[in-house]
């Protein structure tokens, strides 16, 4: 692949970085990343990855834009209310960077389609808003050995971790596997969320994907970054792999086919 004059100009401020260069830019242009959810987290993720020249983005969302989304879901505008989020996102991402091939998947991620959707991805980013979907993404990515990052946001705080199945790093289920369902009232719609915290966590997710593709820096593995913007705290919490984890442990099974995730029962 030879970078065009326009590409050299477009990506010049990242090509100039020692860690990127033309070699790194070509890796980004060659890469395939799947983003699950085009809401508060998925919006900045998709925006920055498209802008960075990720060559192939698969964007997954079944939902339509609601006016209550707009304070945090920065890919969607007032004119997009009642429009499919994938279509709304595609319009902006394509306008931002036509270099990026974008595949739209207008489906809810469920056990029967998750592997088909993420298969072939170099990296998966969770931008979902509920625990069952995060567990499903965790289990499917581990089974297919696809690296991924998961973030969650609520009120003024958020958390993020990256999992590299090949390296057997601590997975989401190792830590949160005991939680059967989110406590009552603990969803964004009921507990609320401030826009900037979703932006910060989404940007960190995008940065994790870029670092993985380029094989640079340190990923947030075997630890969780916990952010509380109300008091401006950014803390890393070390977490450890559970050898008996049913998703990534020594006797792990393919959970996607057997477990009842309850994705279809998630409160909207």
């Amino acid at each position: 692949m030879i970078l065009s004059e326009e590409q050299i100009n477009r990506y010049s401020r990242q090509i100039v970085l020692k860690e990127v260069g033309g070699i790194g830019q070509k890796k980004l242009l060659d890469s395939k990343i799947t983003i699950v959810g085009l809401g508060a987290l998925g919006s900045p993720v998709a925006y920055y990855l498209s802008a960075a020249g990720i060559g192939n983005l698969k964007i997954v969302d079944y939902d339509i834009v609601d006016i209550s989304n707009l304070h945090r879901q920065i890919l969607h505008f007032t004119k997009d209310v009642n429009r499919e989020k994938t279509e709304s996102a595609y319009e902006k991402l394509h306008a931002l960077n036509p270099d990026c091939n974008i595949e739209l998947v207008k489906e809810r991620i469920i056990p029967s389609n998750v592997k088909k959707i993420i298969n072939g991805s170099d990296f998966v980013i969770d931008g979902s808003d509920n625990l069952p979907t995060k567990m499903l993404i965790n289990d499917a990515c581990i089974n297919l050995k696809i690296p991924f990052t998961i973030a969650g946001v609520l009120r003024f705080h958020g958390q993020i971790m990256t999992v590299i199945p090949e390296s057997k790093t601590t997975c989401y289920r190792c830590i949160f596997g005991d939680i059967q369902e989110a406590p009552t009232g603990m969803s964004c719609s009921q507990a609320g969320v401030i826009g900037p915290v979703t932006g910060i966590l989404g940007c960190i997710e995008a940065n994790e994907a870029i670092k993985f593709i380029l094989d640079i820096g340190d990923l947030i593995v075997n630890k969780i970054l916990y952010v509380d913007l109300l008091v401006n705290s950014y803390d890393f919490i070390n977490v450890y792999r559970d050898e008996n984890c049913i998703a990534c442990g020594d006797n792990a099974q393919d959970l996607v086919q057997t477990l009842d995730y309850g994705v279809d029962r998630v409160c909207q």
């Binding site: 050299i8 010049s12 401020r13 100039v16 020692k18 260069g21 033309g22 070699i23």
Partner: protein
């Protein structure tokens, strides 16, 4: 050591300004093997210092020679050796 005995690549970035001067130099160096020479023709005065500085900082190349080849038109020839 001489340029003549080694493989040499030429890059004309006259008309380009920073940071594109370094970016084009970097892209050319990335395609080269260690020890090979890159002869850069440039006419943006700050780049005479900026390119060697950035090449050194990113451990890409070292300066072999800098020559002002046209004082009137302010054109320089910068010879870099890939490291």
């Amino acid at each position: 050591m001489s340029v003549k005995n080694n493989k040499k690549k030429e890059l004309d970035i006259r008309g380009k300004i920073c940071p594109m001067t370094f970016i084009y130099t970097k892209l050319a160096l990335e395609e080269m093997n260690k020890g090979e020479f890159l002869e850069v023709l440039l006419d943006y005065p700050p780049a005479v210092e900026n390119i060697p500085y950035s090449c050194k900082r990113q451990e890409l190349a070292e300066v072999f020679e800098i020559k002002e080849i046209d004082a009137d038109k302010k054109v320089w020839q910068l010879i870099l050796r890939k490291i």
